[in-house]
């Protein structure tokens, strides 16, 4: 019931906003629908905590500690982003950058995007997972091109083609998975693609086929995660779309893609009895961290800067999942949470800052502290948090990952540390003048909606200081589920 509400609310929202998305109160409707989705997610979480794993609708949907925490996180960031987008899109409209039909498209697709992500997270069917991931891409392509500038069209095309080809590889991987499982579970019915069933028989699945399947699945979903040689679409799509979309792409979609990769890894590892999947994850992860850290130095556009930072963090998370084991998985899950909260908070602050400065170029954004101290502090605190400064939560998770790496994979530790250092210097060196530099511009004409920024940062701070016991249990249960190591 809660699940139905959770999936239906954003879908209904998409239809309603498709009709009324350009009305004056459309942004409020968007917030209300997101709030309803969040409440449904909370109800679902309460039920899973009370009753344990859920398996409903002919086993098509499966909720366990791993995905229910992502569902809540997704719904929460979806809610705060809709709060942020309310004043942001108003200003864009007043500036004439979006017309009424485009605003309608934006609101409707926003809800549809939420709906597809929640479907991807809750489904038990690997085929439906693929369908939902592809639908999530399609619903955001037109959002990336919302401004119809040359650059945004290019970004949208790149996003569509690269993710389309990537996801086609994942489809092939899914077919191979089905092929391997069908011999045990039978083609009758659809049980051969249900994750729970696959997980039950993973020890019997043909290792050669599953190994091949994993390569395709990793390349496919890895493209969506933005793992290093396949990351090209990510900075463009983040930089050219409207900022609320950058926030949800970076904070949520990447998490969902990682979720898909990890689900596949659990299956394949159980079949292969070898380190191959773990090594591949670690390799791709490390490559992404290093590449992103160095590319950060070349960025002149503030949204691209933080997009590259997302690639870096996705690399860290993938690396941690690759190491496996209780502690690394725990840290990776914590990192997913804090990264998504921090990064969306940063994008909110950046959104206001770019609207204020009228430019996304770092050189044109100066002296946020004098323009609007709240934006300045928001951006500064957010950047410090994402760079892993204590006492924020990112520090805790990165610390856990690094100490585990020292014990399990000592060779990787210096590489990770060096990359983190390089990234720190790159981001801090650019954010500092943006916040404290001199400026001649006047004060902001509209009050910024910074409640979401500080809510997120406060949560990250709390997670850094103290992970509540029930949350820690929750992470531990999920970490056990993922296993490995």
């Amino acid at each position: 019931m809660e699940l139905l509400l959770l999936l239906a609310t954003p879908a209904v929202g998409a239809v309603l906003l498709g009709i009324w998305g350009a009305r004056r109160w459309a942004p409020e409707l968007n917030v209300v629908m997101s709030l309803a989705t969040f409440l449904a997610a909370c109800a679902l979480t309460a039920r899973v905590i009370g009753e344990g794993n859920l398996l409903v609708a002919h086993e098509q949907f499966f909720i366990d500690p791993f995905n229910v925490f992502l569902v809540t996180l997704t719904a929460f960031v979806g809610l705060t982003t809709s709060l942020f987008s309310r004043p942001y899109m108003r200003v864009e409209m007043n500036h004439g950058r979006v017309s009424a039909p485009r605003l309608r498209l934006y609101h409707s697709m926003y809800q549809l995007f939420m709906s597809t992500m929640l479907l991807a997270l809750t489904t038990n069917n690997m085929g439906l997972l693929w369908v939902a991931m592809e639908a999530a891409t399609l619903s955001t392509v037109l959002l990336v091109t919302l401004y119809r500038t040359a650059a945004s069209l290019e970004a949208g095309w790149k996003y569509f083609i690269l993710c389309g080809v990537g996801i086609a590889q994942a489809l092939f991987g899914t077919i191979l998975l089905y092929f391997a499982a069908e011999r045990f579970l039978g083609a009758e019915g659809v049980s051969a693609l249900l994750w729970t069933h696959l997980n039950g028989i993973k020890g019997h699945l043909e290792p050669v086929v599953l190994g091949l399947a994993f390569v395709f699945l990793l390349v496919g979903y890895g493209t969506k995660v933005g793992l290093a040689p396949l990351h090209n679409w990510l900075p463009d799509a983040h930089a050219e779309g409207p900022t609320p979309i950058s926030a949800v792409l970076s904070g949520l979609l990447l998490n969902v893609a990682i979720y898909a990769v990890v689900r596949c890894k659990v299956l394949v590892e159980g079949s292969l009895h070898s380190q191959l999947p773990a090594k591949m994850l670690m390799g791709f992860g490390l490559l992404s961290v290093v590449l992103a850290a160095f590319l950060l130095w070349r960025q002149r556009d503030v949204k691209r800067l933080f997009a590259y930072s997302s690639i870096e963090h996705m690399g860290i998370i993938t690396f941690a999942f690759g190491m496996g084991g209780a502690v690394a998985n725990f840290a990776a899950l914590l990192h997913m949470t804090v990264h998504s909260l921090t990064k969306s908070a940063i994008f909110f602050a950046v959104g206001h800052a770019t609207q204020k400065a009228g430019s996304q170029l770092i050189d044109n954004i100066r002296g946020l502290m004098t323009l609007s101290p709240t934006i300045g502090w928001g951006l500064m605190m957010g950047s410090l948090a994402i760079l892993g400064m204590p006492p924020f939560g990112v520090f805790a998770s990165e610390f856990l990952i690094l100490t585990t790496a020292m014990r399990e994979q000592p060779w990787a530790t210096p590489i990770l540390l060096a990359a983190l250092g390089v990234a720190f210097a790159a981001i801090f060196g650019r954010v500092q003048p943006m916040v404290f530099g001199e400026t001649r511009a006047g004060r902001l004409p509209h009050p910024p909606a910074l409640l979401p920024v500080f809510t997120h940062l406060a949560l990250v701070l709390i997670l850094g200081l103290y992970v509540p016991p029930y949350l820690a249990d929750w992470y531990r249960a999920a970490a056990r589920l993922i296993g490995g190591g």
Partner: protein, 234 residues
């Protein structure tokens, strides 16, 4: 091949023709012909699905044949032809690699595909296991088509042909995916093409051309000029 029953021979013929069509796509420069080839590929898939459905008696294959007929044989080619007429793109420019070079790469890819399919075919119990290699080859050849073309429209045809190859692969290895997944995939493809249609008009409006070399400015460091132009807009 003498021992094979007639319907299996027909199926193998379909598979061989599919591979041939993929090679034809690789070299075809007229976009209208490219779309016709795509429609032909869809028809071959339809015939193969029907043959397989008749042979194995699996009811869901008939359903998926209906889907193929509606989407791949009728709707997509019609939609693409309409787009071509309205956008007036008839010819692709010279591909990035010349035709004989592309063919050579294509041949190597086919050999690689059969190597890749070896372990899968060895395990498969379907009557069509020998065509798994062909399915993978179609996917990879479509991939090359996408890489070597400049026009957005040709890339899309490559993309759809890749999807056809995957569909054929699923059919040869396991007699198709579960119905719910096939419906989902079909829906995604349909939406993708509609989104692309909208997208093409946006590109046209902006650049007055569908040539993708306009879309190459977003490289590292080259964004400055554009970012500035965005500022002026706002």
């Amino acid at each position: 091949m003498t021992g094979l029953p007639f319907d299996l021979q027909l199926l193998n013929l379909c598979a061989a023709l599919l591979l041939l069509v993929s090679f034809a796509m690789l070299t075809q420069r007229r976009i209208v012909n490219l779309v016709n080839l795509l429609a032909f590929q869809g028809t071959l898939l339809l015939v193969a699905t029907l043959l397989l459905a008749w042979r194995t008696g699996q009811r869901h294959l008939y359903l998926s044949a209906v889907l193929t007929l509606a989407l791949k044989v009728t709707f997509l080619p019609w939609m693409l032809h309409r787009l071509i007429r309205r956008l007036e793109v008839y010819w692709d420019t010279e591909p990035l690699l010349n035709i004989s070079g592309t063919m050579l790469v294509g041949l190597l890819v086919v050999v690689f595909a059969f190597g890749l399919a070896q372990p899968i075919s060895a395990l498969a119990s379907t009557a069509t296991r020998s065509s798994i290699g062909i399915a993978i080859a179609v996917v990879l050849l479509s991939f090359i088509t996408m890489i070597t073309r400049r026009k957005a429209m040709s890339q899309v045809v490559g993309f759809l042909s890749m999807e056809n190859g995957l569909f054929f692969g699923a059919m040869s290895a396991t007699y198709g995916m579960p119905m719910i997944v096939e419906f989902g995939v079909a829906l995604d493809v349909l939406v993708a093409v509609i989104v692309l249609g909208i997208f093409f008009f946006q590109i046209r409006e902006q650049f007055d051309s569908l040539d993708l070399h306009h879309l190459e400015s977003l490289k590292e460091g080259a964004t400055v000029a554009q970012a500035d132009s965005i500022v002026e807009d706002s």
